[in-house]
């Protein structure tokens, strides 16, 4: 069966700087992969590349069987990304946001309700506009949007940051369930104890390259 992610000597450039300098990575279906590495190593870039947001300058890059070097839009809608930013509309309420993002990928109303429930946002908060939420509450909302999407490949950039103890447990449970259900998960994180416990494999990103 084709690997979920297959990168060979991938180079990616932002503003003339090689954010990825020959990355090789091979991820199988159902894995929970932890990307660790120093600041500026290229973790975020790697995730954005896999999501089809960052063009491939050189090398071979296949995600979910699509050649994203040729057409990086091909893989979209099958992957879900939680980046450093949340991608929420500040003036809309929590439920409006989750509903909108769910709708863009044709998720059912139940999925939406379920994911709100799952992230503990179904109470008073559901009707509060994002602009009046705390940092962690926003992060939870972003996660709820991601959960509602039921993606085949989950890309999470420091998902634990800002979440409280309960939120972290919810998140880890969600990710375990997802991978059990056959989805693949890639997590970039600096919280090695926590994320390490979650991951089925750990690779190190350094200087735009992937080790291990």
């Amino acid at each position: 069966m084709a690997p979920v992610v297959h990168l060979e000597g991938v180079v990616a450039v932002m503003g003339g700087f090689p954010v990825l300098a020959g990355a090789d990575l091979h991820v199988e279906r159902g894995e929970i992969l932890l990307l660790r590495g120093p600041n500026g190593a290229g973790k975020t870039s790697l995730l954005r590349l896999c999501a089809g947001l960052l063009p491939v300058e050189r090398g071979i890059a296949q995600v979910l069987g699509c050649d994203i070097a040729a057409d990086r839009t091909a893989v979209r809608n099958r992957v879900g990304l939680l980046g450093h930013s949340n991608g929420l509309y500040a003036d809309l309420s929590v439920s409006d946001n989750v509903a909108f993002w769910g709708a863009t990928v044709g998720a059912s109303g139940d999925d939406v309700a379920a994911s709100l429930e799952r992230m503990g946002l179904s109470g008073r908060l559901a009707k509060v506009p994002i602009s009046r939420l705390s940092a962690g509450q926003r992060r939870r909302t972003a996660l709820a949007c991601l959960v509602a999407r039921r993606a085949e490949l989950w890309l999470l950039d420091e998902p634990h940051a800002g979440l409280d103890a309960a939120g972290r447990d919810d998140l880890d449970a969600t990710l375990r369930d997802a991978s059990a259900a056959g989805a693949t998960v890639m997590v970039a994180s600096h919280e090695l104890e926590r994320a390490g416990a979650l991951a089925s494999r750990v690779v190190e990103v350094v200087g735009g390259q992937v080790r291990g």
């Binding site: 999501a51 089809g52 947001l53 839009t73 979209r76 809608n77 099958r78 992957v79 879900g80 990304l81 980046g83 930013s85 949340n86 991608g87 929420l88 509309y89 500040a90 003036d91 809309l92 409006d96 909108f100 993002w101 709708a103 863009t104 990928v105 044709g106 506009p129 949007c145 999407r149």
Partner: protein
């Protein structure tokens, strides 16, 4: 999901945001009104005003439109929503149509207000025969403006210093609309003895323009927005 359903989804979202934040109603409308008044001040020069009223209506529309477009994409950029839309695989054509739809709706409201102001402030009269002409002009022009605004708004959205790149890109392109709409409106108002028959050729130009940018945008928006 079909492009059209996406468009409706996006448009609904944008209008809901407007509903919650009331930015257009509380701020852009008054702004547009102010612009008209300012013109009146600056040009208050023996009855120049009535003669140039049509031009002013459209100038005011353009400037307010700059604000609207900026706002429309500020919303998408503030927290990386535009990226998220792309990852979600939302068809760019859908995004384009949706945002154009919402923008058009807001523009329409704006123009009606401005037109009424022109009638009141500048004593512009609409010749009975011109009424239909006027309406068609507005529909055609608004559609065109909405498309252009969305197209260039999307292009500038990625760039740094976007709040200033936008006007540079947009103004020369909308110039034809400005001219066309102005002349057509003059014809409708019967300004400087223009008769409404003179207006029709302009409608042609406006429609052509709207169609061009509508099609162009729907097809090309994808490659314009992705950075």
């Amino acid at each position: 999901m079909s492009t059209w359903r996406i468009a409706r989804l996006i448009a609904a979202k944008d209008l809901r945001i407007e509903l919650r934040s009331r930015v257009v109603t509380n701020q852009v409308l008054p702004f547009a009104a102010l612009v008209m008044v300012m013109f009146a001040f600056a040009l208050d020069n023996d009855n120049v005003l009535t003669r140039v009223a049509p031009g002013l209506v459209w100038l005011a529309t353009l400037f307010s439109m700059l604000v609207l477009v900026q706002r429309a994409f500020a919303v998408e950029n503030a927290d990386g929503a535009l990226d998220a839309l792309q990852v979600a695989g939302v068809r760019p054509g859908g995004i384009f149509l949706g945002k154009a739809l919402a923008l058009g709706a807001q523009l329409a409201v704006l123009e009606i207000v401005l037109l009424l102001m022109a009638v009141v402030l500048y004593q512009a009269q609409v010749a009975a025969s011109g009424a239909i002409l006027l309406i068609i002009t507005f529909v055609a022009a608004t559609t065109g403006l909405a498309f252009v605004g969305t197209l260039y708004g999307g292009l500038a959205a990625g760039a740094k210093g976007r709040e200033t790149l936008l006007p540079l890109l947009m103004l020369p392109v909308v110039a034809p609309v400005l001219i066309g709409a102005t002349r057509a409106t003059e014809a409708a108002f019967g300004t400087n003895g223009a008769t409404s028959s003179e207006g029709w050729p302009w409608i042609g130009l406006l429609t052509l323009f709207a169609v061009l940018f509508g099609v162009g945008g729907t097809l090309a928006f994808g490659s314009l927005i992705d950075e």
